[in-house]
Symmetry: C2
Subunit: 218 residues, 2 copies
């Protein structure tokens, strides 16, 4: 099956949205928490978060030009701070519900039953129910002329998690953390570990790190 | 457990890389295929791909400023074309091996045993073994002063897949496609479906779309 540019342009709008959104595979799934200067909190589910670099520790995300996200972008711009919080199976439906178009001024923390958690000196609320919580300081926004979206680049300034979820080498264990992922706009998945592989070098066969193979098919 | 900016700056380099790379959760996992003007192909595994928008159909990705990726970025800039191909359990170790620092001019298609697939009028090679293959036309590159990375924005001009992997509403079924995901730099996962949820609206309880709940924990 081969689909070309012209086909994509002629698809029904919803078909195209579903297809293009699901093409790249599984996506990082987080709840994005912010607050206005008046102290009204906001929470929305987001699947466009990407790793930009480890030194300085930077994360990027995409904000769409549509109405329901304006509170989020305005809050990030005015306070300079926001949080990303992982999504767990026990309450993924509540997390999805934050994508509904609630009126400006209504907090999704309240309507979707999430508990706010604050850290001294940091304005944006974390999600208490999450097991991996990241606090970010805004570094840069890039307005994309090509489609009206905004890229938001932030530096990681807080990490809230449990000791048991970070391995000795620094890697977060998202299996233990019960982190979910999403494909497309609305299909949620719980990943099962296949294997952790050794650092790749030319001339050396790829191999699993000892003790880290689970459910391997190889 | 609370980690702050100062702590992050003082971590051992490898610990910091592992921690920061794994924080955001599961990431879109793809093989990025390119060719030079001399016809030397290049293939590298990439986990920084993000959805930028559906109309026009745009995908973004991050290229690091390091040596092993220079062929890729040079090829994208000179030919204006590249491919993204999903990674399957049967050969994820080969896919990981493309991250090894092979000398410039050596094709990872050959050293890692991938079969090239070409489409008429499109220069960049697809991975024949993949089940979801995307051909992109370069639209924009953004050099990030903050850390020396480059954001590459491309428009989807080809989609190669099987009919059976696209649902009636356009959504790609990544469970059927056997698409893998990765957390951090080296830990691979096969996601299991939890549920597909209806479009969220204020005042309506979140619920699964009929017939699309598998292994639901709720």
């Amino acid at each position: 099956m081969s689909i070309k540019s012209d086909d994509i342009g002629q698809f029904d709008k919803q078909y195209r949205i579903n297809l293009i959104n699901s093409l790249i595979g599984f996506r990082a799934l987080n709840l994005l928490g912010t607050t206005s200067n008046d102290g009204i909190s906001n929470l929305c589910i987001i699947s466009s978060v990407f790793h930009l670099g480890a030194n300085p520790p930077l994360i990027g995300l995409v904000i769409r030009p549509e109405r329901e996200h304006n509170d989020t972008l305005r809050n990030i711009r005015t306070t300079g701070q926001y949080t990303l919080n992982n999504v767990l199976p026990e309450w993924y439906m509540q997390a999805h519900q934050t994508s509904a178009s609630y009126p400006s001024g209504v907090s999704e923390f309240d309507t979707c039953h999430f508990k706010k958690q604050y850290v001294n000196g940091f304005k944006a609320p974390f999600v208490a129910q999450s097991t991996v919580r990241i606090g970010l300081q805004l570094r840069e926004t890039i307005d994309m002329e090509i489609n009206g979206t905004t890229l938001v680049i932030g530096e990681i300034v807080h990490i809230l998690t449990e000791d048991a979820l970070i391995a000795a080498d620094g890697t977060v264990d998202h299996h233990k953390a019960e982190t979910l992922t999403v494909a497309g706009l609305d299909t949620y998945y719980l990943p099962q570990p296949i294997g952790r592989l050794a650092y790749a070098k030319p001339g050396i066969e790829p191999h699993v790190l000892n003790g880290n193979t689970l459910n391997s098919k190889l």
